[in-house]
Amino acid sequence: MTLSTFYFLVQQTMFYSIPLLIVAIGGMYSERSGVVNIALEGIMIIGAFVSIFFMNQMQSTMSGQWLLVLAMLIAAGTGMILSFFHAYASINMKANQVISGTALNLFAPAFAIFTARMLIGVQQVTFMNTYRITEVPVLSAIPILGDLLFKNTYLTTFVGFAILIVATIVLYKTRFGLRLRACGEHPQAADAAGVSVKKMRYVGVLISGALAGLGGLVLMVPVTTAFDGQVAGYGFLALAVLIFGQWRPGRILFAAFFFGLMKTISAAYTGIPILLALGIPSYMFKMTPYLATIVILTFTSKKSAAPKAAGEPYDAGKR
């Protein structure tokens, strides 16, 4: 393998891994607080749709990194709004979290397609990609590392790493993180210690909504210029990353990169001479990420470190 193929592979892997990382970390906040959020898929769709629609409308007057930053804020905000409905159902109403999440997953693509067709007449919302950073000044001059991380990259990649670092610190080094984890493991004990389980769970779900919404946009920007009302199961892949990552930021990073690499192989194998030479049907490559997920989970699920109270409505009277 030539060096340029290797760089290409790493750069491509980033495009698929970073959104998985962001969304899986979002899911981590929610599940660590005790609420299962299978609506990540739907929230990604809504986040991507609203922010890309914003880009579509604004790109005649704005472009480049500032537009991307604004779009990222909008994506996160929209995701947070949608996740509020999941929080209300699962925390206030003690509803079945899977049903509530499923409702949001049904709602999001229908809403995106309906709104797009009503407002602009077609389902696809297009945008111009003016966000690629060809070379980061100074840093791209670093040998090897410069080529890997600081060439042909996007602002979103660095945002992803920042979210990872913040999540690690928040979860393990702050009072908030300790309380959040307590609500997911043993909410009755957290309550007895004076923590508001309701408030912590709201925060957990809303953060997951913001990150999932952001992840939707981050997934779209480098790999396409038209949003079609779907994110191809990435929200569910992020859930798999969360499980494979055992609900811990460091392992989630590793899991996200593993799946990102699998996805790169499936999407870009034609650009990798060794794989192309094998002559395997394209369907096999397309299956790879999903097949790998199942294989990996088969060997890692037996000893699951899932938060003990995840998925259960809080009942103060329960022992």
Partner: protein, 361 residues
């Protein structure tokens, strides 16, 4: 007195919860129509309410045909729910069933054409069951979350079926599967009841299957065991139930139901083919709201399937007014959300009533 009795009846409460959720969904749907096109909103809404009736008897027949696959995927999801599993993988099981039915219908012409469709449907059920079994086995023996595996199996199934269609029963010029002309379903009298519609024996098979599933779940020891494992895996094992076997069988039955749905839809002589595109079969996902709305009860699922089919036909006819049919999916999502809330609300009332009852004793 009678009203009091009725109000405390459990199934009445459940059904009224669903009815309220539907009302909320319809109202919000109407508001969405008002926002998007105030002038036509009321006409559009009436078209939705009329559903299949917009097209007369033919429309009703088409509504039944529309309801047929989602009743079966609804039964698949609902059956899994009853046994404590979330089968979000009905889409993959459905498309594998569809492929197997088409394959048998096209290739196994040594079977007389009067019986071929029966064999093809049996094949569809077996294929669906095997696809469902994968998630069941991994859940039972390796503790893998069935939600994740079955979603992954949806994608794997889709790519696998695309590959199999291209390499076995491919119509190159149209980029889709060959028509299984020798295995088309008989009309079952539906052509007389609903002339020129797509309805055929499939809807009868779907309803009979639902009744059959009801009997299995509610009237047999086998069904009781499957449900017991769903309620409490450990307690069931303690009671001597082989809980691993139960989980696998539950997923296999759920898969067979979805596979049957795929077989029925693609053996209907309505121009439906497997197209070689990277899109998951939507019928599998539409089974989830059907199951939830029918409260996972097989008889309830017949009615919720007909209701969703009715709404879908309304969405089809409202395109005349240039409305986008996806508004129906939005309404169904809102209905599901409210039914999640109202189910929770119902159990709160029940707990409250129980506490009151305890105090007065």
């Amino acid at each position: 007195m009678n009203i009091k009795k009725l109000l405390s009846n459990r199934s009445f409460k459940s059904i009224s919860a669903s009815v309220f959720a539907i009302l909320f969904g319809l109202i919000i749907g109407y508001i969405i129509l008002l926002i998007s096109n105030p002038a036509q909103a009321t006409r559009g809404f009436i078209i939705i309410l009329n559903g299949g009736f917009n097209g007369g008897l033919r429309g009703v027949g088409n509504m039944l045909h529309n309801a047929m696959p989602i009743i079966l995927t609804g039964l698949s999801v609902g059956f899994a729910f009853k046994t404590g599993l979330f089968n979000i993988g009905a889409s993959g099981q459905f498309i594998l069933g569809a492929f197997t039915a088409i394959y048998i219908g096209v290739k196994w012409t040594f079977i007389p054409s009067g019986y071929l469709w029966i064999v093809a449907l049996a094949g569809a059920m077996i294929a669906g069951a095997l696809w469902g079994a994968i998630a069941g086995i991994l859940k039972a023996y390796r503790n893998v979350n069935e939600v994740i595996t079955s979603i992954m199996l949806n994608y794997i199934g889709m790519y696998l079926v695309n590959f199999l269609v291209v390499s076995t029963v491919f119509d190159l010029t149209r980029n889709q599967s060959i028509s299984p002309v020798n295995a088309y379903l008989p009309s079952g009298g539906m052509d007389i009841l609903f002339p020129f519609s797509s309805a055929n024996i499939g809807i009868i098979i779907a309803v009979v299957t639902a009744v059959f599933m009801y009997v299995i779940l509610e009237k047999t020891t086998f069904g009781f065991e499957l449900k017991a494992v769903g309620y409490n895996r450990e307690a069931s094992r303690y009671a001597g139930i082989n809980e691993k076997r139960s989980i696998i069988l539950s997923m296999m039955i759920a898969g067979a139901l979805a596979g049957l749905g795929g077989g029925l839809l693609y053996l209907s002589n309505t121009g439906k083919h497997i197209e070689v595109v990277d899109i998951l079969a939507s019928e599998g996902f539409n089974g989830i709201p059907v199951a939830l709305l029918g409260l996972s009860n097989p008889i309830g699922i017949i009615f919720s399937g007909l209701f969703v089919g009715h709404m879908n036909m309304g969405g089809f006819y409202m395109q005349r007014l240039r409305f986008v049919p996806e508004v129906i999916d939005i309404m169904i999502a809102i209905i599901i959300y409210f039914s999640a809330l109202s189910l929770a609300f119902k159990s709160t009332i029940e707990n409250f009533a129980r506490k009151l009852g305890g105090r007065t004793k």
